[in-house]
């Protein structure tokens, strides 16, 4: 079947891609700038077409715990929210990670802290990549930079979530959520009929009970459990690092940026090149696992590296760890919902030359 071409908002693309990817259930609560996801799903009424359940929960904690329940049954389940709502979900996310369950959580980030602003931001990087909830855990974090990737990453997220039995987050922002671009949609896929063997679907006499829990009172057993999930993260770090490079071959100055900032930096690279400055860009697509190895390789040839983020500087810490002192690393960003312009980024680069 041919792929279908549409002009869509990033939020709408996520919703449509979820239906097409054969997602079993969506639980969510509205919040700007991602309410179009729930609105689109409600209007599309996918239950009629694929049997996908769409439910507006009474709150974000309710939504994430519905996800916990659905995931424990081996179903493909997801939720979406924006920064303050994602903060409310952190307890549930930690439980899901502890119980080793696959699911998709989408954060269409807005500026914080607190209720902050409804404008786009990237100030939830720490929360997404370094925990957020309590305990030693990681989400696998995907950072789309286009409406096409908003659609494509839904299916990818579920593939990865089930491969590792780990929650996956799509870390987007208000700009990509609200922006329209053209998007090629994949054909509809049937919902999965066979459930994974660990799913709690009722105990037949032929096997032991399946237990899904994040509670483990014996410290030695719980240490073993922690070692097991840590080993999983090492596997992800080995196998799942994704990134994209733009004009790095001969670059002397490197931008590191993801999502909306990466788009801005791509333009800044083009502007710099017209002025004879050899700039390049590496765009992490997975924020966890982070493309540290590649950044470390590139760092040796660079006179300066700038981490460009719509935050006070969060990813820059991972960039510095990756660069490991080979060259100078600085941060450039705007905060509180302001998107830097390519010209501003270029000016910052020029100040380093």
């Amino acid at each position: 079947m041919e792929k279908e071409l549409r002009l869509m908002k990033g939020n709408e693309a996520i919703a449509e891609a979820a239906i097409r990817a054969g997602v079993d259930a969506y639980f969510g609560y509205p919040i700007t700038p991602q309410s179009e996801i729930l609105e689109y799903l409600m209007e599309a009424n996918p239950y009629e077409k694929t049997g996908m359940v769409v439910l507006q929960a009474e709150s974000e904690p309710a939504a994430i715990n519905m996800v916990y329940g659905g995931a424990a049954c081996g179903k493909k389940v997801m939720t979406t929210s924006s920064s303050p709502g994602i903060s409310l979900m952190q307890e549930g996310i930690s439980y899901i990670a502890g119980a080793e369950l696959p699911c998709l959580i989408v954060n269409v980030v807005r500026g914080g802290p607190g209720l902050g602003t409804i404008q786009p931001s990237q100030s939830d990087y720490f929360q997404a990549c370094k925990g957020g909830g309590h305990g030693d855990y990681h989400l696998l974090v995907l950072a789309p930079a286009s409406v096409q990737e908003m659609a494509d990453f839904v299916e990818l997220a579920f593939d990865l979530a089930f491969k590792y039995r780990n929650p996956v987050m799509i870390l987007s922002d208000g700009a990509i959520g609200q922006m329209m671009e053209k998007v090629y949609l994949k054909p509809y896929r049937e919902r999965e009929k066979t459930l994974p063997e660990w799913a709690t679907t009722g105990k037949p006499p032929t096997r032991e009970r399946n237990i899904i829990t994040s509670l483990n009172l014996d410290p030695y057993l719980h240490e073993k459990h922690n070692q097991k999930i840590q080993a999983k993260y090492r596997e992800m770090e080995k196998n799942e690092v994704r990134f994209e490079e733009f004009q790095t071959e001969d670059a002397e100055y490197l931008f590191v940026a993801y999502g909306t900032s990466a788009r801005v930096c791509q333009k800044a690279v083009q502007l710099a090149r017209t002025e004879g400055i050899k700039a390049g860009l590496i765009r992490p697509i997975t924020l966890y696992p982070f493309p540290s190895v590649r950044i470390n390789e590139l760092a040796g040839k660079m006179k300066h590296i700038i981490s460009v983020e719509m935050s006070a500087g969060q990813m820059v810490e991972d960039v510095r760890l990756a660069v490991n002192g080979q060259t100078e690393v600085t941060h450039f960003g705007r905060m509180g919902g302001v998107i830097p312009t390519p010209e501003e980024v270029l000016e910052d680069l020029k100040s380093k030359i």
Binding site: A175, M179, V264, P342
Partner: protein
């Protein structure tokens, strides 16, 4: 080829839908497109603006400070964005309600009295299509039939009966746009 366009005016003038129709019709001609609106409190009663980029290449930043073309539909937007047109670029504005007219000498300035014309045509809701027609007269990137197709795709079906009026408005816009400087 890349054309970076800003459309700005009051919320309710059809700014966002004009941008959407432009993006949609460009997509029909196999261009890469992006449509980035201002959203949130700015839209409620105040000014609204949208950035549309049409390109033969992959689009980098959907957020810009400088534009090839600015289509300006009220005084606040003119005051704010006149300086955002690239040198050698183009500014189109509706003279309705404008007291301070554009002053730059390094850009091409066009005037289109679309609000007045829409009132005369007794079709105020096609105001934005008059403007779009004017723009496409100067920059014929997109064929009118693709704009009509774009309208068909982006308008809910209950409004399809208005498409002939919109087509008339597009053509009228092409006739009434005029250049103010050299």
């Amino acid at each position: 080829m890349t054309e970076e366009i800003l459309i700005a005016g009051f919320g309710g003038q059809g700014i966002l839908s004009m941008g959407k129709i432009l993006a949609y019709s460009a997509m029909m001609q196999d261009f890469e497109v992006s449509w980035m609106p201002s959203y949130g409190p700015e839209m409620r009663g105040g000014t609204a603006n949208v950035t549309v980029i049409i390109s033969t290449e992959r689009i980098s930043s959907p957020i810009l400070r400088q534009f090839d073309t600015a289509i300006i539909l009220n005084q606040q937007s003119l005051d704010k964005f006149e300086k955002s047109v690239k040198s050698g670029g183009m500014l189109i504005y509706d003279g309705n309600g404008i007291t301070r007219h554009p002053e730059r000498k390094d850009i091409e300035i066009y005037r289109i009295d679309a609000a007045e014309e829409a009132a005369r045509m007794k079709s105020p809701r096609t105001f934005n299509m008059i403007v779009l027609g004017g723009y496409l007269k100067i920059k014929p990137l997109i064929k009118i039939e693709n704009v009509i197709e774009g309208l068909r795709k982006s308008l809910p079906e209950r409004y399809h009966k208005m498409i002939p009026d919109n087509e008339k408005a597009l053509i009228r816009g092409m006739e009434i746009i005029r250049k103010l400087n050299n």
